[in-house]
Symmetry: C2
Subunit: 308 residues, 2 copies
Amino acid sequence: MILNEQTMIPETKIAKEEISTWFMGLQDRICAALETADGKAKFREDLWTREKGGGGRTRVISHGTVFEKGGVNYSSVYGPTPDAILKALQLPPGEFYATGVSIVIHPQNPLVPIIHMNVRYFEMSNGAWWFGGGIDLTPHYIVEADARLFHDALKQTCEKHTQGFYPEFKKWADDYFFIPHRKETRGIGGIFFDRLDSKRGSQEMLFQFVKDVGETFAPIYTSLVSKNKDLPFTEKQKQWQLLRRGRYVEFNLVYDKGTRFGLDTDGRTESILMSLPEMASWVYNHQAAPGSAEEKTLSLLKKGIDWV
Amino acid sequence: MILNEQTMIPETKIAKEEISTWFMGLQDRICAALETADGKAKFREDLWTREKGGGGRTRVISHGTVFEKGGVNYSSVYGPTPDAILKALQLPPGEFYATGVSIVIHPQNPLVPIIHMNVRYFEMSNGAWWFGGGIDLTPHYIVEADARLFHDALKQTCEKHTQGFYPEFKKWADDYFFIPHRKETRGIGGIFFDRLDSKRGSQEMLFQFVKDVGETFAPIYTSLVSKNKDLPFTEKQKQWQLLRRGRYVEFNLVYDKGTRFGLDTDGRTESILMSLPEMASWVYNHQAAPGSAEEKTLSLLKKGIDWV
């Protein structure tokens, strides 16, 4: 809480620097947890600055025991709001401030799921502000017990704050992480939310919610990792993983708003595209064998499944 | 040439069926030439029909001696013009007819270039018609002599018709096959043209031009294939090929109008995405070694190079 220097009365507005500082700390904690989970690979950090204001810390892990490729990125950018952002978000001209943490992890073992998280805060010089973010899981093979574990953790995090957040944000994730040309969801979803502003809660309450989402990432993912990382897998399962990664690439390059937006607004390409896997594959008209685990996974890539 | 049944005077309009029949024959000839060049793999054909009118013949070759994955697709689709097409092409409502051949070939050997060709014809029920298309080459390693050979063949094809076509369509390809977020051209370009209508020549002359473009494909590509297919290559060159294919995926999914349009208008996904390679790779912030062949190739991925 910040006290006004003159009146010593609490400000209702949290300083944007406080939020970005918290995001930096989150990045540190998650990188440390993932390095521990991997046991071998370390994150490599690239600091970058944005010509028109701000910058970031891109951290990439690769060729680990557990993680083939992954990125945990922090950024805090500001300045005159680019026209593309004004237009896309229907905002009046002014200065913007955007800060957040973005994560995509591609594991080695096809029995360990891909995970994505983003938590972000946006503020305009006219005083408008909102939070956005989400976590979603993309198992190469869907295991219902793991899906339940994952969704249950997200549900608990949501319910610490507002009873209706989980069903609302779970549906939002189902709708967002969908690949129309494949008629498939990207994975088993999770939660997704955007533009949570004073209409949805106080800034303090929403920041606390976003903090809790951020802190949910490491324990839930490392538990899924340790449960599955040592399971033996076949060459065929590895091939299937590469095909599922191909779908991940399709979603990110064709539909993901953050990715396209970053590319359209001349963002740092290597930080944006760290989400792409080291290896991916496309096979013409691949069909899963009837009765196979692959077919079962495909049958579960749809909206509206109540995993909890 | 078609004679009017009443007057026995030549019709100025070529029947659309004549054009699509010619495209089918082109598909046959190119598949035969590529099978001969490969020496082992054969095209697999999938016939498909479009619910609202028309269909196509998708032909895919894979795991060949020379070709890792490639598609040579013919289609002829018609019916009420989808709103997305009316809007994108700024057309009045009516029925459309679109036919063409699309090709993307990903070779095994990184010293053999990727090639793409498209030739197409579009007609509206109000009588509007035009041709479009192009051929462009994406070498994993740019060899200037091969680039000259390729562009020289395209220049000759263009100059059989109209002196200005080559410089105009060569520039169009440079501008079209460009990846803004990488600040790279996709490859060494080639020719690209769209909406060639009566303002650019008679229908007969433009059809003949498109025929000649189509017939340029097999000899030029098979000559590049036979020149390079048996060259030895290293594991490092293979890795570089996978990275370049990653860029190809980026172009096709983020920028290629045909791909995005097909996905947006509920086209046949497997036919559209046959352009994607069997394997592709993304490595965070990969840098070519100073003085390497990879660095030289990157330095040549820019617009405006006069290859001839």
